[in-house]
Amino acid sequence: MDGMKGEVIKVSGPLVVAKGLTGARMYEMVRVGELGLFGEIIEIKRDEYSIQTYEETEGLGPGQPVVRTGEPLSVELGPGLIRSIYDGIQRPLDVLARDFGEYIVRGTQRPALDRSKIWDFVPVARTGDTVKGGDILGTVQESALVSHKIMVPPGRMGTVGRIGPVSGNVDTEVAVIEGPGGPFGVTMIQRWPVRDPRPAKRKIAPTQTMTTGQRIIDMFFPIVKGGTACVPGPFGSGKTVVQHQLAKWADAQIVVYVGCGERGNEMTDVLMEFPHLKDPATGEPLMERTVLIANTSNMPVAAREASVFTGISIAEYFRDMGYSVALMADSTSRWAEAMREISGRLEEMPGEEGYPAYLGSRIAGFYERAGAVICIGSDDRHGAVSIIGAVSPPGGDLSEPVVQTTLRVVKVYWGLDDKLAFARHFPAINWLASYSLYQEIVDSDADDTVDKMWSVNRRRAMTILQKEAELDELVRLVGIDALSLEDRLLMQAARMIREDFLHQNAFDDRDTYTSPGKQFMLLNLILRYYDEIRTGLADGATLDALLKLNVLDEITRAKLIPEDDLERFRSIESDIVNSIRALVW
């Protein structure tokens, strides 16, 4: 007979070894000790089962019981996910705080989806419809922004028997389906093992731009819906602010934010700020589309290891409804370190810098769960998950294993630079080192939808910045006076691109979000100024006069022009032309 109950034989930090669990599978969940701590089997050697426990193990010792649950680590998926805050194993932190106080009490559990909440199910399918996994049976209005699709669970099929409008909690049966193996009921809830990717009909190449409202990102290093990006940078370079900005302003329909081994106060910041921020597209609070996973640095490492899987499973579930989802993981380095810690306790042979040899394949496996897909179900709807992962390299050293293995799989690299951060140039994304492999997709999209000069301007601006870097070296050696007059003008233009376009203040409500249309106008304005001063120089204006025009102030402040007053760009443009004409005359 299988052993449903065994006993602890060894405890070493978060690692517990138990015996007597014959029949248990890898990655099965168990409850450990008298307190019933949550754990997961991660190694089996004869009758010795190594368990990573998701909670602090103090007070645990040999002889205490270990009980199998028969199920791998799974998440509950259904209405109620939006606006929630979970720990790494999907315990609802708000409910735990309400029921158990301000500290996390070990062994406590509450259902991830609130059973006291009543949802109104509106059927879409009808009795007699033939349905299969992924087909939408009906909808539930989950929040102001999210219509939650109740789907046939993956792998099931049949003919809809009974279905109708119904109100109830997530456990309410909304339909009965006559399957090949007999009738089965469908509730508003699905369970899914987090380590398995949810199925899609097939992956497709991403084609749609994901605008973020961040000028350096949208213009120079864009990301697409279904794309992957990483943000490595030393501490203090603004990784978290970049992640928060994307969570706020990216035009995704759902945002899953995973705070993985980071600061507790940062999660509080999100919790306090998001309900007050309005989605630029709909005017509704951003919280109405957000799911938070918070496993802060002081919370147990094993749950930190699980948190990114919990997050991605929730993201995939919304993708399956046909939504575009953005997942932010801050920080994947802490996740990798959690793997390293557990691996060390298992006494596995270490790879580079003590990380387990499977680090690369785990990271790749995680990012591969992103992508644009045709969802399962009959209507061939499209959905997408984008992943934006922060990386925190020790000492800012980009040659370390987590950065390097991540760069092998992601398509966008926003390299943060502490030199820029020291100069308070934010976002501190280094424009010379970063790249986006989605550039062509976005260029052709923006040329059609924003302005046909988008990609031309972008290339010109980047060329100016690159030229500036070369000239800068020269200036360091021989001084600015050695430059030709044309080069002096270029240096001026480059400086303006940096200060008046790339620099963006996340904490200024006029500057924190810039629409693609305004981004274009702003860059265009600077380039226009550059063109005009070059003409002015050729026509005999002095360098000094050109570099000190009063209109420069207007250009500097142009980024603060409100989105509904973009006409002002035209008047600044004519001011530029006029003031230079005045010099030449």
Partner: protein, 461 residues
Amino acid sequence: MGNIIREYRTVKEISGPLMLVDDVEGVTYGELAEIKMEDGSIRRGRVLEVHGRKAMVQVFEGTRGLSPQDVRVKFLAKGMELGMSIDMLGRVFDGSGRPMDDGPAIIPEKYLNVNGNQINPYARDYPNEFIQTGISTIDLLNTLVRGQKLPLFSGSGLPHSRIAAQIARQATVLKTGEKFAVVFAAMGITFEEAEFFIADFRKTGAIERSVLFINLADDPPIERLTLPRMALTTAEFLAFEKDMHVLVILTDITNYCEALREISAARKEVPGRRGYPGYLYTDLSTIYERAGRIKGKNGSITQIPVLTMPEDDKTHPIPDLTGYITEGQIIILRPLHTQGIYPPVDVLPSLSRLKDKGIGVGKTREDHSDVMNQLYAAYAQGKNARELAVILGESALTEEDVLFVKFSDAFEDRFVRQGEYENRTIEESLRIGWELLGMLPPNLLKRVRDEFIERYYPKSS
């Protein structure tokens, strides 16, 4: 189980600070142990690992003089606890939590496990109340707020102790009538340093509202691992049960990390960078994350950890991992110190991540944020130009550059530099800031809004 007192004479191995006890029963991970020697003296330890009938115990006071034949080990069926009382204020304790001044024993109101519990992130309240330290480079540029953890990154021979003491002495909030306390945790510092703090606290009367935990450089290193936890447990008691605003100064984190490495090496664990264990980040976070505020509670815990960077190297694992957990850092710079500038705060790489929520209208002043950004930008530009001048000579600088170089010199001399007992209000810091910005023409002040330039820019000079 647990109620029987279990005593064993079955120590099989002693290695470094670790002891292996065999044939034990019912021992649990993290359990506290008492080690009785022949002469009746007692040391204490904690279970680091149990495997079947073997328990590995870490001995706090070290294993010197222990012999497997002599010692008896008693497991106490509880974790490491400390008795708590409001009477701890004004007292000095050693690394095991025993009073080391001449005062009476503490009569505990309750016992708390020193490892604490994790604050539920949902229950946290966001730190947004400005703390005035009286130091311009902190108040105006790297603002400290209640519930923040803001370390001092220093090096050997730099005046971090004096700065920490100055903060402890001067820190106030701009509200009145609140209870304030300091918990001071010294790990492996020298007698002289400890004496400096105690004397300073006595002199200014701060001792009355302080609790000191002291482990000196020649005290057992292993005690350094529990000392900050005892200090923070005390802080939590004062903050969340006695409604006090507690400032915790932890010095020196480098010594703490070295003690951790010692244990890790003794356990033959796979070392990470520079021999520190792979879990250093997690371990440090269990200290630093105990700062904060809790919704519905009046008190708060603000942490100022002090660490000396080996070779002033910010990429060393200790400052590096600290920087990833704490909410900013104040960097003490040797060249400024050599120039005789106190406090030698290196403004550019210093940072307070929580400043934006603690400043502005109703907290400090409306122009705070703009002035801060402008001072940074101008100082950065001035420093760059100064470097350029070193290579190319002054003549290579543009007029504008010359102006910024002058600005940055004055900035270091008048803004960064201040007296050890000079307690500047935020208004004074802002006034000096504007005086310095007055050296630059208004059109170069791109980070300041026009309305503030009109209101605060020095009118004539």
